[in-house]
């Protein structure tokens, strides 16, 4: 009895801690979401949490000081004297706050606290991100023409074209490899496997320039095929290892009986292994998909940012403008680019936890 109670309490504790961590984790994202619907000037002026009802100072009346008030001397306001610094930061007296409205005109706001919230929202950020910006250009004959920049749709499809094959190809190859490493006996199996594990710790940055040289001589730069190959190669070690841990744990009897019945390795792989490792396949797909979808470096080097191949991450980086003047668009762009990974995650999430656990608990 006591034991069960204690367990319930500890469960409650764990849940609370998890809930708190979740909330802390989500708050920045929530802030980003709110900001993405606010006009740029508002984002600069007030924090996103001001959209929630809160108590804030509201001006009730304005005082006009004599125009010749010397700001570097103590300033007299309705009987009391304050320094300029106090009036700049706002000085509270009897529940009222005095703060400069305009120092030049020598006007002071008298403010009281009251409930308020900000309700200015706009979808302009999303419209610009999805539809493209407009630029006005003066032509040689003096007329002005408006040019519409490309929106995100082109780069969205480019990213799909990069990501889907760059997810499928390595998983396809790695599953074959993992089966061989787990269940086939061939010379050099252990050595090869250790080499692959060792490749896990090699940072991909060291390979950039050598591969780029090879790509240049092969003419693969800026092609989809080139980037599929690059992502495949960079992703293979982890995926092979992940699939190996999952496949090596399938019961041995299964294969033996299949062999007895005259199944070839290929039949075993396609009829037994693949269906049995769907959870592992799904979760590593999510990993690889997210990695390729969010990738900036590999596409920057091997694909470049020509409009016909430009991927989302690069498009978003360019959205802010040469001088970073359009930073407010990033909020909306982040949410647009998040849609696809979220969709993939929720579509495959029922396998996700099962797959993650695969390999962690032996038995």
């Amino acid at each position: 009895m006591r034991g069960r109670k204690g367990m319930r309490r500890s469960k409650w504790l764990v849940n609370t801690v998890l809930a708190i961590i979740c909330v802390i984790w989500t708050i920045p994202t929530l802030g980003l979401l709110v900001s993405s619907f606010r006009p740029a000037a508002d984002i600069l002026a007030t924090g996103w949490w001001n959209v929630l009802p809160h108590r804030d100072w509201q001006t009730t009346e304005q005082l006009q000081l004599p125009k010749d008030t010397d700001l570097r001397q103590p300033i007299e306001v309705s009987g009391a004297t304050y320094t300029d610094d106090q009036l700049r930061a706002g000085v509270v007296a009897d529940g009222e706050r005095l703060i400069w409205e305009n120092r030049r005109a020598r006007t002071i706001n008298v403010q009281e606290k009251s409930w308020t919230f900000i309700s200015r929202f706009t979808t302009q950020n999303y419209e610009t991100v999805l539809g493209g910006k407009t630029y006005s250009i003066t032509m040689p004959d003096g007329s002005t023409k408006t040019e519409k920049g490309s929106g995100m749709s082109r780069s969205f499809w480019n990213t799909v074209a990069v990501t889907v094959p760059a997810t499928v190809i390595p998983i396809f190859i790695a599953s074959f490899a993992a089966y061989a490493f787990a269940w086939l006996r061939f010379p050099g199996r252990k050595t090869l496997f250790v080499v692959i594990i060792a490749l896990l710790v090699v940072p991909l940055q060291v390979a950039l320039i050598p591969i780029l040289r090879d790509y240049t001589s092969l003419g693969l730069n800026g092609t989809y095929f080139g980037i599929w190959l690059a992502h495949t190669a960079f992703g293979l070690p982890l995926i092979t290892y992940f699939m190996y841990t999952s496949i090596s744990q399938l019961p041995k009897d299964l294969f033996e009986s299949a062999f007895m019945d005259g199944a070839t390795n290929f039949t075993i792989f396609s009829r037994l292994i693949l269906p049995l490792s769907v959870p592992a396949l799904a979760s590593i797909s999510i990993f690889q998909f997210l990695w390729v979808w969010n990738d900036y470096l590999v596409s920057l080097i091997f694909l470049g940012s020509q409009p016909e191949v430009q991927v989302l991450s690069m498009n978003i980086a360019n959205l802010v403008g040469s001088k970073g003047n359009d930073w407010h668009l990033l909020t909306a762009a982040a949410f647009v680019s998040m849609l696809m990974p979220l969709a993939v995650f929720f579509a495959l999430q029922k396998y996700f936890v099962r797959g993650l656990l695969g390999g962690s608990v032996k038995g």
């Binding site: 000037a41 600069l44 700001l71 305009n102 120092r103 030049r104 005109a105 020598r106 910006k133 630029y135 006005s136 250009i137 003066t138 032509m139 040689p140 003096g142 040019e147 920049g149 799909v160 074209a161 889907v164 094959p165 499928v168 950039l208 320039i209 591969i211 780029l212 040289r213 790509y215 240049t216 001589s217 730069n221 092609t223 989809y224 269906p275 920057l300 080097i301 470049g304 940012s305 020509q306 016909e308 690069m314 980086a317 360019n318 959205l319 802010v320 403008g321 040469s322 001088k323 970073g324 003047n325 359009d326």
Partner: protein, 464 residues
């Protein structure tokens, strides 16, 4: 049932994959054919202008349509509005010559160009906003000397000598002309809200003393005069280096400035320290700066200009290069703002101008690339960009009447009349200093974490 459904999913998936592969394969093919197809407009251009272009330079040949269908790749940092304006400014040339200039803009240009060049995938032409970065490539002999196909007389006709000097860099076997200057920007500008400025009865200061008097006057009237922000992400601190360079030019000789930029005059020298103190007179006076000293390092350089155009203005003066007009609040017209040059400090050094610019360098030597490079030495290559605003032409043959407004026209005049023109020093210094310790040291000094001497030593340490 389940397996059947699974099969369907698999089939659908494989179909999708094949579809994507087909799509991308076709896309590539289509792209190739269009670039090789001579466009009808190019043919028209040839007939119409054929007689006009004479001589045997690459540009003249291109104008006659000799390189029709050729492709020239360009790589540079223009993105967004700049990219659109650039593409617009080369459109007429592309139509007339049939050369396809394929421009690729990247926010990560500085990082990527080294990888590209070392990986053997250099673009035909690269656009360097920081000549310091280009110097390394010139030293390794990766860059084609412009003088191999453009004569000295021609270059002298197109550019002022100081531009040519700045473009001359040390190659593996002697000095080479590392590229052509294609657009410039003036940095020594102090922006103000024209209407409010006139209403308040202030006058544009002609000397440093007058500037300080105006600053004091504005403070007395109740506002901080200056709005300053140096926050810029990983590049935080660069606006402070611009201030330093501007003041250096006004407190010491151009020769000393050159030495300083080359690393021969250390940051710890009293000359440099003096310049930093002149700057501190304004920056660290709580009455002179909007938000006070503590807000300088945390205010974004682009947002710093906005208080000038509040109603009523919260600040009155802002020192920044010509590009800052892109950060002005929307709806502002040329009647609302104006600029004056940062006034001279020491009479004997006159009115110098701090500038920056983009140098186009050539990595692959082909006739059509030569033609495009030659095209970029003409003012014509910038015409629509100048008319759209936001750029000053370094070439002599750009017509002042092209500028969209008086403010920009005066910038071009200002460069021509300046007593000394010097390039942004931090862009010329090696990256470790110019884009490293200089930014960081100034930021530390401004935010008050170190004193001036320590900050200057910190910056100097980058030279080692």
């Amino acid at each position: 049932m389940r397996t059947k459904r699974g099969k369907q999913v698999w089939t659908a998936f494989i179909l999708l994959l094949t579809f994507i592969m087909l799509l991308t394969a076709c896309g590539g093919g289509a792209g190739n054919t269009t670039t090789n197809e001579p466009s009808p407009t190019a043919a028209e251009g040839e007939e119409g202008e054929g007689g006009a272009a004479e001589g045997d330079t690459a540009l003249a040949k291109a104008m006659n349509g000799e390189y029709k269908g050729k492709k020239v790749t360009m790589f540079g940092p223009f993105t967004d509005a700049d990219e659109v304006k650039f593409n617009e400014s080369i459109k007429a040339f592309e139509e007339q010559t049939g050369i396809d200039i394929s421009y690729e803009g990247s926010k990560e240009f500085e990082a990527t160009i080294s990888v590209r060049v070392n990986g053997g995938n250099a673009p035909d032409i690269a656009d360097f906003p920081q000549p310091g970065l280009l110097k390394g490539f010139v030293k390794d002999g990766k860059v084609v000397d412009v003088k191999t196909f453009l004569s000295d007389e021609y270059l002298k006709k197109q550019y002022n000598q100081s531009w040519l000097d700045m473009g001359t860099m040390a190659g593996p076997s002697g000095d080479v002309m590392a590229g052509v200057w294609a657009r410039s920007s003036v940095k020594s500008l102090v922006w103000y809200n024209k209407k409010a400025f006139e209403e308040a009865g202030y006058t544009v200061p002609a000397t440093w003393d007058e500037l300080m008097a105006l600053t004091e006057q504005i403070a007395k009237d109740g506002d901080p005069a200056w709005s300053i922000g140096i926050e810029s992400g990983t590049a935080t601190g660069w606006p402070a280096t611009d201030w330093m360079e501007d003041i250096m030019l006004r407190t010491t000789s151009p020769e000393n400035y050159d030495k300083w930029v080359a690393g021969e005059l250390p940051f710890t020298d009293p000359i440099v320290k003096n310049a930093a103190q002149k700057m501190s007179d304004i920056w660290f006076n709580e009455d002179y700066v909007y938000g006070g000293r503590k807000s300088i390092a945390t205010t974004s350089f682009g947002d710093a200009v906005k208080p000038l155009f509040d109603n009523p203005p919260k600040a009155w003066l802002h020192r920044q290069a010509g590009f800052i007009t892109t950060f002005f609040p929307e709806g502002l017209t040329a009647d609302d703002y104006d600029w004056f040059p940062l006034p001279p400090i020491d009479e004997q050094y006159g009115q110098p101008a701090l500038i920056s610019g983009d140098i186009y360098s050539m990595f692959n030597d082909r006739p059509e690339v030569r033609a495009v490079m030659e095209f970029f030495t003409t003012g014509e290559s910038l015409k629509t960009w100048i008319q759209s605003g936001g750029v000053t032409a370094p070439m002599n043959d750009a017509d002042p009447s092209w500028y969209a407004n008086d403010q920009e026209r005066r910038m071009a005049e200002f460069i021509q009349q300046a007593d000394a023109i010097r390039f942004d020093g931090s862009d010329l210094m090696p990256g470790a200093v110019g884009a490293g310790t200089f930014w960081k040291g100034m930021t530390d000094y401004v935010s008050g974490t170190v004193d001036l001497d320590t900050a200057l030593e910190e910056i100097q340490a980058g030279w080692k």
